[in-house]
Symmetry: C2
Subunit: 155 residues, 2 copies
């Protein structure tokens, strides 16, 4: 299980590959628009990291560092990473691609918040992520999970 | 298409019915906990509205009014409704239950924000909801859609 995680650059090839992922949505569409309108340059950095199998992008996630002032999850408030759109293409699942991406995210040494699909709870549990105490005003229909480099102090 | 929309009360029967919905997650689990710990009373009001077919809950959504100070979507900032977990059980789809719930939400006369699955875009489009201009800091992996009683002025 030695996969290389790469920061993905925004270009037409990558955006075309993104179409294979279920999570394709507004974020990707806006990248296409920005590229076409020259608002961003070809090969700009993106918040996406991915793993290639040969030439094919088979797994990806988005990572974004938020400053402590946006933190409503950790005590005391601190800078943390938002992780979203973790996804492995169906044929490549159960081979450790997802684990590799999450382990990569952990190596930044920051707490991580993610809001995964309900069905993936077991995976996240295995990766050391824990559910928050539900707060309707903050969480609405989300299912936030948290990970902290030193272990979570409060839920 | 004359369905009666009801505010759902938090009790064990409703929470049991929620298990049939894909969106079952932290929100529902926390309601079960609160009920068991007597933090909330049996038959407390919930943010859920639903439609019954006979005795069976076949469609639901959550609605929550947010004050203008949390508004990052409308110009000028205003009170608005968050709508989430709109879901119709598979056997009851394509019969207008979803439309009825959304029309019910519109009758509160407030702007509405929702963050639906990518695949349901066509439904929301038909209901008059429009995508926002993507803002990574705010939207991350979301696909927010907005509706305004007087029509949307800006995207």
């Amino acid at each position: 299980m030695e996969y290389k995680v790469e920061r993905l650059l925004v270009n037409y090839k990558t955006l075309e590959e993104f179409k294979e992922f279920k999570g394709y949505g507004l974020q990707e569409l806006s990248m296409v628009d920005d590229l076409e309108a020259n608002i961003i340059e070809n090969d700009s950095q993106s918040p996406f990291y991915g793993i290639y199998f040969g030439d094919k992008l088979v797994a990806r996630m988005s990572l974004y560092e938020r400053s402590a002032k946006f933190d409503r999850y950790f005590e005391p408030n601190q800078d943390f990473l938002e992780l979203w759109k973790l996804e492995v293409l169906p044929k490549y699942q159960k081979k450790g691609y997802g684990e590799t991406l999450v382990e990569f995210a952990k190596r930044f040494g920051l707490p991580i918040k993610t809001n995964p699909r309900v069905k993936s709870q077991e995976f996240w549990n295995r990766m050391g992520f824990q559910p928050v105490e539900y707060d309707m005003e903050r969480d609405l229909g989300e299912n936030p999970l948290l990970w902290h480099p030193q272990g979570l102090k409060s839920s």
